[in-house]
Amino acid sequence: MAVSKKVLVNLYTRTLKVRLFEEKVWDLFGQNLVPGTLHLYLGQEAVAAGVTAALDKSDWIQSTHRGHGHVIAKGADMNAALAELLGKATGSCKGKGGSMHITQFDVGVLGATGVVASGIPIGVGAALSCKMRGTKEVVACFFGDGASNNGTFGESLNMAAIWSLPVVFVVENNLYAMGTPIKMMCPSIDIAERATGYCIPSIVVDGNNALEVYEAAVEAVKRAREGGGPTLIECKTYRQRGHSRFDAAKYRPPEEVEFWLNRDSVEKIKKIVIEKGALTEKDAEKIRTKLQKEVDKAGEFAVNSEYPKPKDALDDVFAEVL
């Protein structure tokens, strides 16, 4: 696939933006400003970047409990995203959702959900709607390796297949579900093999390589948009930190961690775009500086925002207060 320089820059920018956002989150967390738990996207940036770069603004994504990267890559307002993580009234969910429900509907995020695999049916339903409404919109539905063992996975793949829905299933196989290695819980090497049983084309890619992810996504999105139905993309990737807030992830062999840290997604895409002449090292640095400023500003915004009033807890149950 011939990829334009513009796209390459885009991929680098998206990957890096997600990285810087997550680093900011980690920083704020270190300052005890992030309540609750936290599932960082650090390490998996290339997946969100590559997939969302293949989508239009009017397309949709369905996110997970590890959703910060998805929403940022899809173009979410960083102020509102960070404020949400801090539980502020200015957050995109007015502080009601937090990390596990970080959602910005207006940029096409259907939702982030705390129940593993529960987003898959929702993504499929959105794709049904894209089709029934006669649009060309496409849904990218993210979920983890662990999620692929939940019942809705099979149900949803089947429904998408029989109705030929415009959905791209993106399995982020980061090798673990909490402390559980996927190889203990999945008999095949690739989760992608399960797609075959539903006659869904699938592809396994290096999930730390935003370009590779992007190329697979472009093809899948094209198929979906043209009425060719669903595709499953399995992205092999890795969490750079533990599963959640306090997990030191000691259950992972040091060699494995090292192997993956050496395949850092930001480094990788940076190397590619520079090699392909889309950016110089200096350009890349400029972009980083600009993004870092944005992120820092968002951090300030979030920190300086007010908490919601206690009684706001009673709003938003229904369209009108009953």
Binding site: C93, T113, F318
Partner: protein, 324 residues
Amino acid sequence: MAKKTYRDALKEGLREEMLRDERVFLMGEDIGLNWGGAFKVTKGLAEEFGEERVRDTPISENTIAGAALGAAITGLIPVAEIMFGDLITLAMDQICNQAAKMRYMFGGQTSVPVVYRSVFGGGKNIASHHSQSLEAWFMHTPGLKIAVPAFAYDVKGLIKTAIRDPDPVMFFEHKLVYDKKEEVPDEEYLIPFGEARIRREGDDVTVWGTFQMLHKSLEVAEELAKEGISVEVIDPRTLMPLDKKTLIESVKKTGRLVLVTEETKTGATTSEIAAIVQEEAFDWLDAPIKRVNAPDTPVPFSPPLEQFFIPSGERIAEAVRSVV
């Protein structure tokens, strides 16, 4: 105006809304061409609206519920059917964790105009997996509205309101009322949620009940009138929002309350009603609030067992007599 069955009135409501708004569509197992729904509610609609808008699905309850939700938040108005209320057990996550909470969790970003239809109740000898009454679970799930129509007139007006509601609505039917007939106007009408209906006025005892038990209570009230006991019978029509006002006023008048549903007793909707009324009308109550429910067992198959399980008119009458 003509007499119509509950089934036909419901179908008419669905049909009118589908004609009115092309975003409305139906999905569920065997609701389409070949079957028309397990209870034939949707029979003929696939022929009229096509298989896209009257959409047969695989046997995937959780994904039916979730897909309906995904469609609802992106511009459609799905009416998803779960063939039997007992099978909602499989869709609890999508209904109770996702649909019910979505507007809230996302701070009001999304509207969730989805209707989940299903059917409760025994009386057909189809045993423990096809006869339950589980509405209480949903009453305990903030974010859901709940309709419990027992009459043909109501089922039509309420389904239309449910479809136009921007929030998720659990629309519950009952197997034994599908064939019941009532006058249903030809002109369009809607019934607002949260308005109970006094189905019979009376002075001595208030009876509040749902579905088939409401019909039985009305029969019992007729009988008891002959004994000189004047019974007021209240049909809540929706459980969420709940019309407390009508009920409390009635209790303030009669001083006595009997609650009647086909649910198993412990943790039923009647427990909630009792808790509310004793709290809000304590000084007006002349006798303890009595609950008439099924016993705390699964629903048995064999006719004599099931008949014992389902509250009888006699049990209702006794409860009423015991408080006057």
